[in-house]
């Protein structure tokens, strides 16, 4: 099994600089279908993602993101990447969508 090396079962210390999959997936999003994953542990309901990508991200009644549909349509790929970059908690990731 291929190890991504990114999906470690650890919670980084506050303030630690962590490489998230977004950084590595950015260049590949054109070739591989991706989907958005929220790390619900890191997410603090800032809601930027929903403002930046309302087509795919709505907020529940408590302000936490609900992701619609997968994989990310090609037309929205760059804005999805931007939403991932802008998350203040670095709680969004783009991961390769499973082949179906």
């Amino acid at each position: 099994m291929r190890r991504s090396g990114l999906l470690f079962a650890d919670r980084p210390r506050a303030g630690a600089v962590v490489k998230r999959p977004a950084a590595t997936m950015r260049g590949r999003s054109k070739t591989h279908p991706v989907r958005i994953v929220v790390d619900p542990i890191r997410c603090d309901a800032f809601g930027y993602c929903s403002e930046l990508l309302p087509e795919l991200v709505t907020l529940d009644e408590w302000g936490y993101p609900v992701i619609a549909g997968e994989p990310v349509p090609a037309a929205l790929a760059s804005r999805a990447a931007e939403a991932v970059r802008q998350c203040p908690r670095r709680a969004m990731l783009l991961v390769r969508a499973e082949e179906s």
């Binding site: 099994m1 190890r3 991504s4 999906l7 470690f8 079962a9 650890d10 919670r11 994953v37 929220v38 790390d39 619900p40 542990i41 997410c43 603090d44 309901a45 529940d60 009644e61 408590w62 302000g63 936490y64 609900v66 990731l93 991961v95």
Partner: protein, 438 residues
């Protein structure tokens, strides 16, 4: 099992079948017919199973194939196939076997029972798992607030230390006793850095790590079952056609004889309830645990096995069967369980932190006759929104349990929605849970 102060009205003085005699004739099920502690326990264990020799490179595949043939899956609630778990972690280099005796499920006492009845089977199973996976260390996790299993374990470990050389070293850990503390990533997190909360695992196959080494978490009962199967494989007497698999079930709620039963996998739920002294007024049963699913009495013919229970929306989970009578209010019972589960969130994920109390509050309004159709609609919406949105499966279990309640207690729900609450109280008046919500 939870203590029942008096024999309830309508119950026989003693169970028709002694609870410590296994139901059925499978030789593998006979292991609960003795309750050893101390040196006598070890002698009885040795007399029955012989001194343990762990699998080697040649015999490990025989064990794994026997486990796969029997279909043994994790008994802590996850239900992951044990053979695949062991196979996936067969690597040299020294991992850790984590024996999960946390038993955070309030309606389950079978893991404590196994440790009291047969600590050496659990230790045999852990040694076997260590040998198969190349682990160099075994950690047994008993919650800090529950000392019961510590004494039999300590005695058993001392006996083995004196008699058996060259065993994989075992130590005891005491993580905090909370519901989610037994979730495997929370357990590994606590052992690794005293941070006992679930982690986000996008790839479940990724090994958990403790001190940088791969950690494999197995439930207590699962390991005891592994030891039983291995004793037969080792003796050359394993026959998948003849040897059935047993499962331990904790029966509680409206039964005369709450307790732990060892039953062949596939025993109908009705037979389990009958053996524990439930009567025909039993209206429904919660199967698997607080994060499990309710089934109605019309489904009591369902065999207690993964595939059969899945067909009625349930799963064996941690082996829980909690009965309620038609006099008890299913909605009130469900509300109490949901409120307890909301309080047991590890507090990490928003949808769980805010969603579970909101779900419990909707249920409280419905149970109290203060909620109408709009409350029910809001509850349905919240269940859909919360489902699948935590890092672990804690919120998903609550969603599943509440959805099954809305299905099974449909007529109760309808009455409550029309403003006519039943006045029944949570659980039954005959017996009650000694642990959990109150």
């Amino acid at each position: 099992m939870s203590t029942v102060a008096t024999v309830p009205v309508g119950c026989r003085e003693s169970p028709a079948v002694p609870l410590d005699v296994a139901h059925g004739v499978h030789p593998i099920s006979a292991w609960t017919s003795w309750r050893p502690t101390g040196e006598a326990g070890f002698q009885a264990h040795l007399a029955r199973y012989g001194a343990l020799t762990v699998p080697d490179r040649d015999s490990a595949p025989l064990l794994l194939s026997a486990l796969a043939t029997l279909g043994l899956s994790g008994r802590g609630g996850g239900g992951f196939p044990t053979a695949r778990k062991l196979e996936g972690h067969r690597r040299p280099g020294g991992g850790i076997i984590v024996v999960n005796a946390m038993e955070g499920e309030p309606a389950s006492t079978k893991d404590s029972a196994v440790l009291a009845w047969a600590p050496h089977l659990v230790l045999d199973g852990a040694q076997v798992a260590a040998a198969v996976t190349g682990a160099h260390e075994i950690v047994i996790c008993v919650p800090a607030d529950r000392d019961g299993p510590v004494a039999p374990l300590s005695v058993a470990l001392a006996e083995r230390a004196a008699r058996l050389r060259r065993e994989t070293p075992v130590w005891l850990a005491r993580p905090p006793g909370r519901y989610v503390a037994g979730e495997e990533s929370a357990l590994a997190g606590w052992l690794d850095r005293r941070h006992g909360v679930p982690a986000l695992r996008l790839e479940k196959a990724t090994a958990l790590r403790v001190g940088g080494r791969p950690a494999l978490v197995h439930n207590v009962e699962t390991l005891a079952q592994v030891a039983l199967v291995w004793s037969q494989v080792r003796a050359g007497s394993f026959d998948a056609g003849r040897t059935g698999l047993t499962t331990l079930v904790t029966v509680s709620g409206a039964v005369c004889h709450p307790g732990v039963l060892a039953v062949p996998v596939g025993t109908p739920v009705a037979a389990i309830l009958e053996q524990a002294g439930a009567d025909e007024s039993t209206a429904a049963a919660l199967i698997g645990g607080y994060g499990g699913a309710w089934i109605a009495s019309s489904d009591f013919t369902t065999p207690f096995s993964g595939p059969a229970l899945r067909a009625v929306g349930a799963s064996p989970g941690a082996g829980v069967v909690l009965a309620v009578t038609e006099q008890a209010c299913g909605l009130a019972t469900t509300q109490r369980i949901a409120a307890f589960m909301a309080g047991e969130s590890s507090g990490q994920c928003g949808p769980c932190v805010y969603g579970l109390p909101a779900i419990a509050e909707d249920l409280a309004q419905l149970a109290g006759g203060r909620g109408g159709e709009d409350t029910l609609r809001r509850l349905d919406g919240r269940l859909a929104v919360v489902d699948g949105r935590g890092a672990c499966r804690h919120p998903d279990g609550v969603v599943r349990m509440v959805r099954s309640a809305l299905r099974v207690f449909r007529s109760d729900v309808d009455r409550h929605v029309r403003g006519r609450p039943c006045g029944g109280r949570a659980f039954s008046s005959r017996t009650d849970l000694g642990q959990g919500p109150s």
